[in-house]
Amino acid sequence: MDAGNNRTGRIDFLAYGFIAIPVMAIVVFLFYPAALAMFGTLFHKRPDGGLAFDASSYIFFFTDPYSLANLMRTLWTTFVALVLIVAVNLPIALYMRFTRGWLASLIQGLALFPMFVPGIIICYALIRYLGPNGWLQSLLNAVGFTHYASPITTPWGPVIGLIWDGMPMTLLILISGLGTISDASIEAARDVGAGRLRILRSIILPQITHSILIVSALNFLGFFGQVLMPFMLGPTNPEMMGPFMLRTFVSVRDPLQAATQATITFLICSLAGLAYVRSLANRKEER
């Protein structure tokens, strides 16, 4: 083996050494217990000590109206929050990409602000502001509007909280995606006769589909498994999968059913994860 190969060999060994510890930690503390839990939902111990295939917990989940209602509520909240978070952040990202000045900086600061606020504080702030007898209701009462119905106790409560919580990451990814579109390509579109909406539809959006896909996938993962926001905001029946799992495990003390709920959540989130990984792979290929 010549010196070059020796050198390469050493570098490879060093690289494997570097990644070994985190990979081991992930395998030992995450993959192994997760696999064990998932395995445990399908294979139960028989009285004689052997293992038997048993899908009864899944059958229960998919035949139990309450569990299904919780799953539907989780899907509804996730998709609504996903659509709204892109709809809210895209115009802000566009404004920040194509405008310079103090107002753009101020908006950027405000939009990234939630990143530095713990989720629990955001929940309390939303309850105090939007909740029943909160500041907004008091303000509206003061101007004579007495028909305010707080969204905090409705399914929209978690949606508002999730949008607030996911806003900084969404904005950063969208701005980064928009940053790859050159000013000249926008000017070229204007030059051939495209108006603003046409530029958005035909030039900008097709070039940030990767960013939108990444934002959607990451937020899907974050929203679907959320515990804090749906626990603090929104109705308790039906509830989202996060608090449902927590309650099944801690209050109902049914670890098998909690693990089944977690496995179903994991499988649904895997689809979003798959979309994210595919998007990254496609991007690499294009480059």
């Binding site: 070229a188 204007r190 030059d191 051939v192 006769g193």
Partner: protein
């Protein structure tokens, strides 16, 4: 017939003046180069014509119609950008067809026009490719075709070949000139390369610090620069401080006729208008050859006279050697004073 008239066009950014009030008329089918160093205002002026910059004052007339405050999409202009600005998610065909679709052409007409545009730039078989699959020169050709299919009244080109290598630049430059002549399209071409301007332009507008220094044909600009800036910017030029008295400019034994008022002036002489070793040259000075560089067909000689370095272009056959002291004589020359030309030897 498409003409472009700029009347008192001015551009300020706050208190900074990017373009001082300037006027310029460009005739039908003419190719005019805006030439100047970085920061001279040439690109800003082009962007004002294209509608990408709002002018502070003045008028931009295309065929007599003022478009000064019309947005780019409403102007009969098309611009080729330095970075080609192709849309990466579209194929070559879609890039070229985009503007035609916006203009409401039907599919058959779009296909015909795109194919004509592609064949004009020699890319007939590239319609299905994406920009990432093309070379730099091919991308710029697509950008040119994208503009040409729209049949603009004025074609604007913002340093279109700046990112290409010299060989490709030379080739594309000739191709563009040929296409421009064939179509007879009025064109404004921005460049900071004097060679590029000299080789493609019908007229050159030399700009500096937001002002027009001189407008003229390449030959005029080279032969009779109107200001010291133009003299120094276009081609090689010796700019030598001299003293004029009694109708003659003198420096280190050189004595040149100069029918201007007495006082200091700047002598401007091209290297090819200087001769080393001419025995019967009138008014020569003795110059010491300090450096010689072989350029193949000629020597570029640096000679020292009166403490000043003179660049001389000597033919291959000249009997010149480094270290020699030889008489230096001047052929054509100009004198500048107060930033303007005051004397031309060939006019008197």
């Amino acid at each position: 017939m498409s003409t472009l008239d700029l009347i008192d066009v001015t551009k300020n950014y706050g208190i900074v003046t990017a373009i001082e009030p300037l006027s310029l008329s460009i005739g039908d089918g003419e190719l005019v180069c805006l030439l100047g160093p970085s920061g001279s205002g040439k690109s800003t002026l082009l962007r004002i014509i294209g509608g990408f910059e709002t002018l502070t004052a003045g008028r931009v007339l295309i065929d007599g119609i003022d478009v000064a405050f019309a947005p780019p999409e409403k102007r009969p202009t098309a611009m080729v950008f330095q970075s080609h600005a192709l849309w990466q998610h579209m194929t070559v065909f879609e890039n070229i067809a985009f503007g035609l679709k916006l203009r409401g052409f039907d599919k058959t007409e779009i296909r015909r026009k795109v194919e004509t545009g592609l064949s004009l730039v020699g890319l007939q078989d590239y319609g299905g490719r994406h920009p990432a699959q093309l070379s730099g020169g091919q991308r710029q050709r697509v950008a040119i075709a994208r503009c040409l299919v729209l049949e603009p009244k004025i074609l604007l080109m913002d340093e279109p070949f700046a990112s290409l290598d010299q060989h490709l630049r030379d080739r594309l430059r000739e191709e563009v000139r040929q296409i421009q002549k064939t179509l007879g399209i009025t064109t404004v071409f921005v460049t900071h390369g004097q060679d590029e301007a000299m080789s493609v332009a019908d007229r050159i507008v030399v700009m500096s610090m937001g002002r027009i220094e001189q407008v003229g044909t390449p030959g005029d600009i080279y032969a009779t620069p109107a200001t010291p800036f133009v003299a120094g910017f276009i081609g090689d030029m010796n700019m030598i401080p001299v003293m004029v008295s009694n109708g003659h400019a003198t420096i280190g034994g050189l004595r040149l006729a100069a029918s201007v008022a007495d006082g200091p002036a700047t002598l401007a002489v091209r290297p090819e208008d200087l001769t080393l070793g001419g025995l019967d040259a009138a008014g020569f000075g003795a110059a010491q050859v300090t450096r010689m560089v072989n350029y193949g067909s000629f020597f570029k000689v640096t000679a020292l006279l009166a403490g000043t370095e003179w660049k001389v272009q000597a033919p291959k056959t000249a009997a010149v050697a480094q270290g020699q002291s030889l008489p230096l004589s001047v052929g054509r020359y100009q004198l500048f004073r107060d930033d303007r030309m005051v004397f031309r030897s060939d006019v008197g």
